[in-house]
Homo-oligomer: 212 residues x 2
DNA sequence: AGTTAAACTACACACAAAGGTAGAAATCAA
DNA sequence: TTGATTTCTACCTTTGTGTGTAGTTTAACT
């Protein structure tokens, strides 16, 4: 028996899903909650195999909720079912531990199919979400070669990410302190930043920085 | 007409795919290549809508190939079709610009379906790959609660990664400059670092920082 | 040999950061 | 209510950072 919990503040959607899922022989809806708070309190979560979760909830948001729920029951498959399709909602949910992300307009059959897919080790997503997720992996390609860091600059950027000071870096790469400054200036220029923290951040995003 | 190119060193697989795809009214296989080198040289790549790409190729690997091909034609939809399912192959391909990742055992119908899905803005993947990809987003859960950043600390860490100063941050989150300092101190303590750059670096590694 | 661009050194300065210390204010539990 | 804890404010000092400006060396190309 696949044990399912639903968290969704709209009563109509909640009962609609519950009845749809109950029509399956091997599915059982343990309980439907109107908010994350209620669900977190309940022992039912610990017994759930699948949790259907909305994002736009009153009180604790679905994203935060997903994080808490997955810490309570790490084995539960959390599937977001929501109308939000902005980056923050999508990636926030996934980071929080969701393994699927569906739009609220799913038909009962699709929902059942999605749950079965999740149980089989897959990750139900709409095609658009899937594309967004994959695109988020793509390397950023600098348009102009001028924006590409030299080897020395890359080395220094790595040292910056370790929190090294001008002096420490100059000692490590056998250069004057001002020599180090010279290179850091061009790193900043190429990455369009004005501080070490920002440079490290951008370096990670552009996958210039190694070893992580 | 959907213009397709195939890069695959196995002649049998190559022709099998080509004939399968040609059976579709609106598909046309422009050319089949035995290696990335050949494909890169060819003008055909620039005209392709879809590129099917193997990873285990002689010479330039499919991963490196995907990177080069997508730099030649950024609009082409690159779909990997391969037997490799290790992290390096999967994530390397996606980083290189692929928007789909299928196993070589796909049936002709599935392959056609995958291409149509890609054309519709989706990202064809096997369920297992999809799960892997989504899981890669999941936050690391620190073992000890003492090391977990609070919401406010996380917010501030994100602002640090944008290169904001104490003053800027204090204005943004309505706190005194020293209030901000107070939180940054505990961020440093929890992450065991002593500077913004290092904190940002560690934040990325621990996936505390939003990475999109 | 002369020109040029990149790499490096040097100096100066306003400002920001890191960390020490100390004491309100708010929150929570007994 | 009291004490304990957390959060926040305040002040201070040393050190580091970001940037402007300027001069020198080095290597490459004509």
């Amino acid at each position: 028996m696949v044990k399912i919990s639903i968290i969704e503040d709209n009563v109509f959607a909640r009962t609609a899903w519950a009845t749809a899922l109950s029509s399956e022989e091997d599915f059982v809806v343990l309980e439907s909650f109107g908010s994350c708070e209620e669900a977190i309190e309940s022992e039912v979560i610990k017994k759930s195999d699948v949790i259907l979760l909305d994002i736009g909830l009153p009180g604790i948001s679905g994203i935060k909720g997903a994080e808490i729920l997955s810490s309570i029951n790490n084995n539960a498959l959390i599937i977001m079912i929501t109308i939000q399709d902005d980056d923050k909602s999508i990636f926030g949910s996934l980071q929080a531990g969701a393994i699927g992300y569906l739009h609220k307009s799913v038909s009962p059959e699709e929902l059942i199919g999605a749950i079965r897919l999740a149980l089989k080790g897959g990750s139900p997503m709409t095609p658009q979400i899937a594309r967004k997720v994959l695109k988020s992996f793509h390397k950023f390609k600098p348009k102009y070669t001028e924006d590409k860091l030299t080897d020395k600059e890359t080395t220094i950027l790595n040292l910056l990410s370790e929190g090294k000071s001008y002096k420490k870096i100059s000692e490590e790469i056998f250069l004057s302190v001002d020599g180090v400054k010279y290179h850091i200036r061009s790193i900043y220029e190429k990455l369009h930043v004005h501080s070490r923290a920002e440079a490290v951040n951008k370096g990670q995003k552009l996958r210039i920085l190694t070893k992580w």
